[in-house]
Point group: C2
Chain length 330, copies 2
């Protein structure tokens, strides 16, 4: 096996989040699908941003959030994703590199600007996301390098990558390289609408290529086209080594072979903005996996990480997660 340089390498859409409060009336008026991620074009982005309340900007992107949290926990990480050579791209690069993450994907210099996700946070702390993929559509298999993938214990992929066509090829290439190097592949299903768009592909992936699967209740039931969470849980069992299924305030259920662990949620001090909760959960969980902790502990660590992120605006931890986990990891 190649020398291990990274605990986790993430591949995902490199996005700057634009976050503001909105009420439910705003969502209805603008036809936004509450709680979901919708892809929008440049014109729609301009119109929606024009209507949006004053916002805060911060680095986002699902896999990138997970990698940032893992680095914040002290793990060695790498990230592959495409930003433009613009001010938002500089913000994205700064925020991930300053955590010590290796991020060397070539900048896009022509074409669309760095991707942005307009996030509308309602008073119930739910987030509704409208994503302009921008430079992310230029990510392709040429951005995935064998030596990097082979050097990572786990290659972590987000389901959202299935949307831009070149990224999907990058995804498949990365999974192949990881397994050829005797490494593990983790996947987050990202969003129920995204699962619905690419259901057959995701079923093949889960059956044949994924060792560790992350999904929430809506995503896993959409994948198996079932109504009941328990039915979906039985369907996924045996198809990948570990499936970590999150259920918001009901905590998470981890399935691995004959084992099923039901783990309580960690109650946050405040519930402000659920953006990034799933990404942080995956980070806490993988932190446990890398350390060889048992699956119950992994799920507990996932819950602690998620609780930090939902206590404030923005998808990434505000204070080093290492500090948070040290206080809460019993």
């Amino acid at each position: 096996m190649a020398e291990t340089r990274f605990h986790v390498l993430g591949i995902g859409n490199a996005i700057v989040d634009v976050v503001a409060y909105a009420d439910d009336e705003f969502l209805v008026k603008h036809g936004l699908d509450k709680g979901r991620m919708t892809l929008i074009d440049a014109d729609r982005t301009k119109a929606l941003y024009g209507a949006m309340a004053p916002a805060g900007e911060s680095s986002g992107g699902s896999a990138a959030n997970t990698v940032a949290s893992l680095a914040s926990l002290g793990l060695a990480c790498a990230f592959v994703g495409k930003v433009h050579d613009d001010q938002w791209g500089a913000v994205f690069r700064h925020d991930i590199r300053t955590l010590g993450v290796a991020f060397d994907t070539l900048l896009s210099r022509g074409g669309a600007p760095t991707a942005r996700c307009l996030i509308f946070v309602t008073p119930d702390a739910q987030r509704t996301m409208q994503t302009f993929l921008g430079a992310c559509v230029e990510l392709g298999p040429g951005d995935v390098h064998e030596n990097e993938i082979a050097a990572a214990e786990i290659t972590y992929l987000e389901g959202y990558l299935w949307d831009p066509p070149g990224a999907k090829q990058a995804f498949v290439k990365a999974a192949g390289l990881a397994h050829a190097a005797g490494r593990r592949v983790a996947l987050s299903l990202s969003d129920p609408l995204c699962v619905a768009r690419h259901r057959e592909d995701f079923l093949d992936l889960v059956n044949d290529h994924v060792d560790i699967l992350f999904a929430n209740e809506a995503e896993i039931t959409t994948l198996y086209r079932v109504d009941e969470f328990d039915t979906a849980l039985q369907s996924v069992r045996g198809h990948c080594a570990i499936a970590a299924l999150t259920r918001s305030e009901q905590g998470s259920v981890v399935v691995s072979g004959d084992q099923v662990h039901v783990v309580d949620a960690h109650v946050p001090a405040r519930l402000v903005d659920t953006t990034g909760a799933g990404d942080a959960y995956a980070a806490g969980f993988l932190f446990g996996v890398v350390q060889g902790r048992d699956l119950h502990d992994c799920a507990h660590l996932g819950g602690v990480a998620a609780a930090e992120v939902i206590g404030h605006f923005g998808a990434r931890p505000e204070i080093p997660l290492k500090q948070v986990i040290a206080e809460k990891d019993r």
Copy 2:
């Protein structure tokens, strides 16, 4: 008198804030003057940003923050300030215009990018600011228009404008136009180091041109070169119609002719980041002034607005201040 179109017109540096946590060790290591605003050049900005933790970006600038809060309170406002035609400039424009603020200063197209302020928030919620003025240095008297100034009940100026040379001329022109139109001029002293840099000018201003003065304890004692707050308070009395002097958790003292009002601070639910506390106080206070409230009420409203802003990262209210005031204004 000209038709009144604006309750308040603000003139200030148009800045995007870049906010991250830092510990005191970081401040010492990088030679940062805790709690103060320091001007830095492009090279120093690059070096400090490179060392800074992952950050969140949001619109800032002292007078701009005050205007944003006033608009969030439902007042009709205008703002004059210079941003570059870049992504940060677009963020600044969006955030202030979406509140209904008239902001029509011509964009800078050559020269430096939109100004940024690197803000390091320590665990004690204190903020240390490092400002790269960027496009702000291009603001000049040509950006101040008589019809706008004459249409505003109050022209509000930040002391920081004394740093870029052209802005200072814009400031003097605006104050002259406001008084010629029978309007009032308000000034915030901004920062003790800024007061020290321009002390003689500020004394002349306060004596001859300012109707409503905002200053904190460090700023007013620096202005009069005295050790005691009470001595400074006696010095300012009679030099401008109203002086509102803030003392952090000790609340504020308002001096106007023979009247002295000592008003308690409003205790925030949480103390996270004091950035923008003074700007929000000025907004709450001016909101009261415009409504013809008594000075004690004005100071109380200032305290309520400040309490909202220090409860989270970032210098501007996260939820509409109108809502906050409606709940707290007894």
